[in-house]
């Protein structure tokens, strides 16, 4: 089996592979920067929590509209934003920290979602909500993903500086202009919208994997925010491509293959990454040790 058959042929022969690849590309463009910002803001677990928070909204959308993309997406988006807003409100008004109020609300949301689905339908419907498949991306889903990616890039380009400021030194921003909350909310909105797009293609749990793993892996290679984001997107795209090929040649389920590959990339980066990778640190300690003993 030559390289062409291995890498190119599956995409030439099958439309569903091509569509899946395009979906991965669009997802990577959106998830890369968003995931990077989540990581540097120390909000890595918010991604997963938010994915669960999408559930009741999507469930209500499903109950009202069946497997309709529009219904589930709008429902998920509204539900996710609502949880974010409520958590933010509680954090501001009480002495609760952001992570505690977020945890409280996303768990409430998750339970509500499961309850709604079991009241209305069987658990297999819930299962399909949680694990979509990238092999069944239809036109509507592709358009949604593409739109989300464009929107993400546009908004981030626009609010880049105040967003970084808000991430890094929110008190300073508050003293200067007082709009910190707005940028924080815009950012959370971007997280929700990328997860909504992702869950249509990969399911909520896998979508978070594609958002967080490349971003955490990138930290072992790059230092600037823009290069981190770019690298995260690149890793996400390559994992999408690779995962699809593994699923194709190795007969493994596609979503888990993609995310597992991203996991492998993370582990490899952890070990050999030049910035604080295990090997680099070991080498560093050896060098300082030998310097001090000279």
């Amino acid at each position: 089996m030559n390289l062409h058959m291995l890498l190119i042929e599956p995409f030439v022969e099958f439309g569903f592979m091509r569509r899946a690849l395009v979906a991965c590309l669009a997802l990577a463009i959106g998830c890369g920067p968003v995931g990077t910002l989540l990581v540097i803001r120390r909000m890595s677990l918010v991604g997963d929590a938010m994915a669960h928070a999408l559930l009741p909204g999507a469930a209500i959308g499903f109950v009202l509209g069946g497997f309709s993309l529009a219904a589930m997406s709008v429902g998920a988006f509204v539900g996710g934003l609502l949880v974010a807003l409520l958590a933010g409100f509680v954090t501001r008004v009480t002495s609760q920290r952001e992570d505690a109020s977020f945890a409280a609300f996303y768990l409430i949301a998750l339970a509500a979602g499961v309850m709604i689905v079991s009241l209305r339908g069987s658990s297999v419907d819930l299962y399909h909500l949680l694990f979509g498949t990238i092999l069944a991306v239809d036109d509507a889903a592709l358009i949604l993903i593409a739109m989300v990616a464009s929107l993400t890039v546009l908004v981030l380009a626009l609010i880049y500086r105040p967003l970084i400021l808000e991430c890094f030194d929110p008190a300073f921003l508050r003293d200067s202009s007082g709009h910190g909350a707005l940028y924080h909310l815009l950012f959370l909105g971007l997280v929700v919208v990328n997860l909504v797009a992702g869950f249509q293609a990969l399911g909520t749990l896998m979508a978070v994997g594609l958002m967080m793993l490349p971003a955490t892996a990138a930290r072992f290679w790059a230092t600037e925010i823009w290069s981190l984001a770019l690298l995260a997107s690149l890793i996400a795209l390559l994992c999408g491509l690779g995962g699809l090929l593994i699923s194709f040649h190795g007969n493994l389920p596609s979503g888990p293959a993609i995310v597992s590959l991203a996991g492998v990339v993370f582990l490899v980066s952890l070990v050999v990454g030049p910035r604080e990778g295990l090997v680099a640190r070991w080498y560093q300690t050896r060098r300082t040790h030998s310097l001090s003993t000279r």
Binding site: P10, E13, F14, G15, F16, M17, R18, R19, A20, F67, S118, S122, S123, V124, Y127, H128, F131, T133, L135, A136, V137, D138, L244, S247, F248, H249, G250, N251, L252, P253, S254, G255, P256, A257
Partner: protein, 311 residues
Amino acid sequence: MNYSHLFFAKLILALLVTCSTNVTAAPDQVRPLRVVASFSILADLTRNIGGDVVDVAALVGPDADAHVFEPSPADARRLAQADLVIVNGLHFEGWLARLITASGYRGPIVVATTNVNVRRGRGVPDPHAWQDLRNGRIYVENIRAALVNARPAHAASLNERAEAYGAKLVALDQATRARFTAVPASSRRVITLHDAFGYFGAAYGVEFLAPQGWSTDSEASAANVAQLIRQMREQRVRAVFLENISDPRLMLRLVREGGGVIGGTLYSDALSPPGTAADTYLRMFEHNTATIIKAIAPSAATAPRATAGAP
């Protein structure tokens, strides 16, 4: 005063005793046998054989998937109060053992697939034995024996009903065979999402292709989907069937790319809700057969088809 108190006490006691003895001494044979069947098809069979003698409830109802069923406390309660439990067996109900333990049910459990000729697919036993009407008769026999055992007084009527129903199954089996034989072998290839029709295919000579294993809780791999599309193109399999318990998006994708046509909905693991096309075992079978034949028979060949290889 004391005497009147004593008198009232005795009166009440007497009333209580007569009431309770009325309840407990009444022959068990009078009230209907409470049967809990694991899923809708078994429930339907039991009702047909048992008639008034039984009061049947199904745990996994119509349009529900027994593979991913999650029992609720109400199910445990129903089980606790049951006299008889009927299950499919062959690992169809993965959640059942725990539920039975949890409910504290200690009565008899009838495994409907006892003595069935088990088919093996992909290395494990295929539980969907009811898809072959001959196996259906074995199911009926097993259920009949259990019911007669529980209600010997009604043995006569039970046997009669079982016999009548069995005859219907035989008739349907022969009719189905005839219908499929009429269709040329090369056309007898269809696609469903779910490998539930192994027995059906083997019995009536239809080849069922599917991109997944036979449980809905495993995800499709790209290789599966690709292989299926290749087959659809090469072997010109055109009829694709949706199921009442799975995600239609993957099916639609297959149709677009493989150049097939959606033939309709097939009912595999569950009946449809009461009042619809496949609400009993017999009607489900007739519906499935009719739907498949309609899609693959020559008259359907002139139906418009999607272009093969569409992105």
